[in-house]
């Protein structure tokens, strides 16, 4: 047996022939073998009752498997003390599960205190984490119910990160917040992950969230069957069967475009004259499209934006032209609807061929 301890690309979490049957007779997880590489985000997705949450909870022994083995960092979880194992793994749940009688700061300091760091060091660490997750120091003195849902969820993430665990388990963490806040939290998680490179296991029933966050997506079917586990592009281009295809939805070709960035797609100089004129401000930032009697909004895109956003903008734009900008928001050129269409088709072909 190989023992994996550290280094990117190694397997951090391994499920080997894992079964879970509950005392009431329902099979939550059926013969699951799945590997999660270190430093990657694996998203478990499926409709309710498919065993994704049970799978997640078996990693930190909130649920013990009926048979099979689960290894974290090469060590069988069943051979470890459950409480100690859980302290070494970050855990974020829906509705945040914050302790209502403790201040935000004390909530974040939970695991460091359990590990015996001492109050001063634990609090210092908690203060540091407030900033990491984008909260003010002032928020640390408040109680959880005094924060918004999105802020509470940030505190939940901070609490999970407090002892700097290599593994983070997230059980529908953004399920209970509104779509705008959810997108913000997803962006924050991606930013954090770039810095921290944790091994993240993320449970959701939202396929768009899965595509957005996952390095790999594992799709589960009712009865605890893993149907397919693949990177998002591969999954969208080659769904294993009709169930997966259905789950990905009718717009899965469009979802695929959300994975390709605009970088490298040619631009032309903005047209001068013509019916519609692209109006810029002093710093060459696009303001709107204008004719003699109307103005239409423009949504400039940078190289990091997706082909899907470009396709959307090319449809909305009166000229079919997408305004491209640099990091400062200054115009670099435009790309035509035809060009975007051609590249969209190309991206799709590449994904299919891969």
């Amino acid at each position: 047996m190989t023992i994996y301890t550290s280094g990117k690309g190694h397997l951090m979490i391994q499920f080997d022939a894992v079964h879970k049957r509950f005392p009431n007779g329902t099979t939550a997880v059926h013969d699951l073998s799945l590997e999660m590489p270190e430093g990657g985000v694996t998203v478990l997705v499926g409709s309710s009752g498919c065993g994704k949450t049970t799978t997640l909870r078996m990693i930190n022994r909130m649920v013990d498997p009926t048979s099979g083995t689960i290894r974290v960092g090469g060590r069988d979880v069943l051979e470890q003390d459950a409480a100690e194992l859980r302290r070494s793994i970050g855990y974020v749940i829906q509705q945040s599960g914050l302790f209502p009688h403790r201040t935000v700061l004390d909530n974040i300091a939970t695991v460091p205190l359990l590990l015996g760091w001492g109050r001063r060091k634990a609090r210092a660490r908690a203060e540091e984490l407030l900033e990491t997750v984008g909260l003010t120091a002032e928020a640390g003195k408040r109680y959880p119910h005094q924060l918004s849902g999105g802020q509470q969820q940030r505190v939940g993430v901070a609490r999970a990160l407090a002892a700097d665990p290599p593994v983070l388990l997230m059980d529908e963490p953004f399920g209970a917040v509104d779509p705008v806040v959810r997108t913000q939290l997803q962006d924050e998680l991606l930013r954090l992950q770039k810095e921290l490179s944790k091994t993240i296991v993320f449970v959701t029933h939202d396929i768009d969230e899965a595509v957005r966050l996952g390095d790999r997506i594992a799709i589960f079917r009712t009865g605890g069957h893993l149907v397919q586990c693949a990177p998002p592009a591969e999954l969208l281009a080659h769904p294993a069967d009709d169930f997966v295809a259905d789950f990905l939805g009718a717009e899965r070709s469009l979802k695929l475009l959300s994975l390709t960035a605009l970088e490298g797609i040619p631009q032309a100089p903005a047209p001068e004259g013509g019916t519609w004129e692209l109006v810029l401000d002093g710093a060459r930032r696009p303001l709107h499209w204008r004719t003699e009697d109307t103005e239409l909004p423009v949504r400039p895109l940078s190289d990091a934006d997706s082909l899907l956003a470009a396709l959307n903008e090319s449809i909305a734009s009166p000229t079919g032209l997408v305004a491209r900008v640099d990091a400062d928001g200054a115009l670099t050129g435009v790309t035509s609807r035809d060009e975007i269409h051609a590249h969209a088709g190309l991206a799709h072909e590449e994904a299919r061929a891969a």
Binding site: N60, M62, A83, E84, L85, R86, R87, S88, Y91, I93, Q94, Q95, S96, G97, L98, F99, P100, H101, T110, V111, L114, Y143, H145, R159
Partner: protein, 220 residues
């Protein structure tokens, strides 16, 4: 009627009524001593029981039915029963008062534990707390407002009922009630009853005030 209240007034405020071993001061101290001791003993029995039932979720029917059992229990009957068994001592009084207080504390402690958000309990376990850490760091503090309500209710009930100590020839504010009844001294009976009521109300207000101050940070 007016005469009666006037006499009651002068009974309550007269200096001689407050001093000496039969004075209100002494009787009040006795009354409080019986009540506090009985409530403390009851808490020592009922709190662990309520916490255990709440934490494990087992035996919930005990906690729920204990309340109606407590209401149905005839306190005076219990005093007489234990009196017959043990003879003349404070035992009958304490047994009856403790038996009266236990259900209120068990039921409220269980209710408080039961009201802890399962997500919070799950999160506590998931962060790596052991069972006793979950109990003492999360469940108990969250259940505390209801636990204190249980203790308060128990104490008030005990204060109101501790008059029975006098029934078996001991002290407390019940002395006035039973002596007054024996002497057909209505003013004394009424004085004792009013004092008991005032003590109960004052304790109730003071303790609920304390609760409000202690738990001011809790969500409503």
């Amino acid at each position: 009627m007016y005469e009666l209240f006037k006499n009651l007034g002068s009974w309550l405020v007269s200096g001689e009524q407050w001093s000496g071993s039969d004075g209100i001061g002494h009787r009040l101290a006795e009354h409080l001593q019986y009540s506090l001791l009985a409530t403390l003993v009851a808490a020592a029995i009922a709190l662990p029981l309520g916490l255990l039932i709440g934490h494990t979720g087992r035996g919930a029917f005990v906690a729920i039915n204990l309340a109606s059992f407590g209401r149905a229990l005839p306190t005076v009957g219990l005093v007489v029963l234990v009196f017959l068994a043990s003879g003349l001592s404070m035992w009958p009084v304490y047994v009856a008062l403790v038996a009266l207080a236990v259900p209120a504390i068990v039921t409220n402690t269980y209710a408080g534990m039961n009201a802890v958000d399962p997500d919070v309990r799950d999160a506590a376990r998931g962060q790596g707390m052991r069972w006793y850490q979950v109990l003492f760091q999360v469940e108990l503090p969250l259940a505390l407002p209801l636990i204190m309500t249980g203790l308060r209710l128990a104490l008030i009930q005990v204060v109101a009922t501790a008059t029975i100590a006098a029934y078996v020839s001991f002290g407390g504010l019940g002395r006035y009630v039973f002596d007054g009844l024996a002497q057909r001294d209505l003013v004394q009976v009424l004085g004792g009853a009013v004092l008991v009521a005032v003590v109960a109300v004052v304790l109730d207000l003071a303790l609920s005030g304390l609760q409000r101050v202690l738990f001011r940070h809790r969500p409503a």
